[in-house]
């Protein structure tokens, strides 16, 4: 099986690569590429994302044909895709970090700054926090409710359809931190930096 981590030249993806390589069994190839043909022929895709919403969207658009190839993969062929952090946020229609920026528009919703109650809560939301399940998600197999995951972000994805939310995290409000919609998966936290439980989530995605 081929799992492709999309390298669209935005942010640091070495930790994502390391974690996938650490859990992958012998029959699984982890590819890291921006090559459209390789992306199209993959069985699963990981869309990482660090930095601002705008810089990630810009970087995706900079690679000619990439957005269409991803859309084909995820929406037409409906193969499993995991977005991590801004990778998840980009599923939205629009984001407001830096400037109002159009997202991929795969899941209706927006990405806004976490309400920090006038400075009562520090931003970025950095560190380990408990996730609370909202529904069963295939990537949470073997993970207990209220497990700790590692977060680093100031913005949150607010989907219109709340039924896509698979987990939230308590930080000033109930912040959406994981979604599952058919073949689309996303985590606001970083499974690649969330110790053994994070690796379990990655394993679950690979084994879908």
């Amino acid at each position: 099986m081929n799992v492709t981590i999309v390298d669209y030249k935005s942010g640091n993806i070495s930790s994502v690569i390391n974690s996938f390589e650490a859990v992958a069994q012998d029959n699984i190839n982890i590819n890291v590429t921006e090559d459209l043909n390789q992306i199209k022929s993959s069985d699963k895709i990981v869309l990482p994302g660090q930095g601002s919403f705008k810089s990630c969207v810009d970087a995706l658009n900079n690679i000619s044909g990439l957005v269409d190839a991803l859309k084909d993969f995820a929406l037409v062929n409906k193969k499993p895709l995991l977005g991590i952090c801004v990778g998840l946020q980009m599923f939205a229609d629009v984001g407001y970090e830096e400037a109002e920026t159009k997202g991929l528009g795969w899941i209706p919703g927006k990405v806004s700054k976490i309400d920090n109650k006038n400075g009562k809560y520090k931003l970025p939301h950095i560190g380990w926090n408990e996730i609370e399940f909202m529904k069963n998600s295939k990537i949470f197999n073997g993970i207990e409710n209220k497990s700790h995951m590692y977060f680093v972000h100031s913005y949150e994805f607010i989907p219109e359809d709340k039924s896509v939310i698979s987990a939230t995290v308590d930080y000033s409000t109930k912040v959406v931190c994981s979604i599952e919609k058919e073949n689309l998966f996303g985590t606001q936290f970083h499974p690649e930096k969330s110790d053994k439980l994070g690796l379990q989530i990655i394993k679950n995605f690979i084994n879908l």
Binding site: G11, N12, S14, S19, H125, I126, G127, Y150, H153
Partner: protein, 252 residues
């Protein structure tokens, strides 16, 4: 609820740990890769490497260390020491560091923080402040490993760092560092109140109560320590169990 983080720090010189875990069962007490793994397996919330390599020729060694460490360490890894440019940051991140802490270069060139946080995201840019008390409730920022007084007010500088895009402040009290007499609570508290990004308290931990005070009295989001872990005085587990017993929320 967001947990308070416990961060062990390893001083690395020419690729070898000079202040790290001093346990007998270690195969190689000077191997940062092995030590980082032990810390992360025992529940450290993050790992910090401080590269104190003196000569530029040996600077590249840290890249290999980070590369090897990040293959086996699945909690965030912060690397600092001698970081001067966008290129240095880029190299460390590409080797697998999750955050880079910048000290002297951030004072000399505030644009570096602006540029770096824009390019790599605030989440991976930590501004490290070495502060020394000059007057009652006043601290000055020192650079070059604490050798040069910039005469910049530490609280003002923390505010400026936040404005320039730093994601966190790693705050070391030079007066307290190495004394084992506890963090400078006044300093930690002033800076923590002045800014809205997380503060990591550093310098002076000698016992468990000091860690608690850094969080409860100082308002730090994370506490960093080297010696107490290095000399095996306390394990990460002991620290966390103590803090939990004092109603300080930690990941266990």
């Amino acid at each position: 609820m967001l947990k308070n983080r416990i961060i062990p720090c390893l001083d690395v010189k020419n690729g070898r740990v000079v202040k790290g875990i001093n346990f007998v069962e270690l195969k190689d007490a000077g191997d940062p890769v092995e030590q980082a793994k032990i810390y992360s397996d025992s529940g450290a919330d993050e790992i910090c490497f401080l590269d104190i390599t003196a000569s530029n020729e040996n600077r590249d060694i840290i890249y290999d260390v980070v590369k090897e460490t990040s293959k086996n360490c699945f909690v965030p890894l912060t690397v600092g020491g001698g970081v001067r440019s966008i290129e240095d940051i880029n190299k460390l991140l590409n080797c697998g560091a999750d955050k880079v802490s910048i000290n002297t270069a951030a004072v000399q060139n505030p644009n570096l923080i602006k540029e770096a946080s824009k390019k790599f995201g605030s989440q991976c840019i930590v501004v490290a402040i070495d502060a020394k008390k000059t007057l009652e409730h006043k601290w000055s920022v020192f650079t070059h490993g604490g050798r040069e007084n910039t005469n910049i007010d530490a609280v003002e500088y923390a505010r400026l760092s936040e404005k320039n895009g730093a994601g966190e402040i790693l705050l070391t009290s030079m007066d307290k560092d190495g004394t084992q007499s506890g963090y400078d609570i006044d300093l930690t508290c002033q800076i923590s109140k002045a800014i809205n990004i997380p503060v990591i308290a550093s310098g002076g931990v000698g016992n468990l109560e000091h860690l608690k005070d850094g969080i409860v009295k100082g308002g730090a989001s994370a506490v960093l320590a080297a010696s107490i872990f290095h000399f095996g005085t306390f394990s990460i587990k002991e620290v966390k169990e103590y803090l939990k017993s004092k109603n300080v929320s930690v990941r266990i």
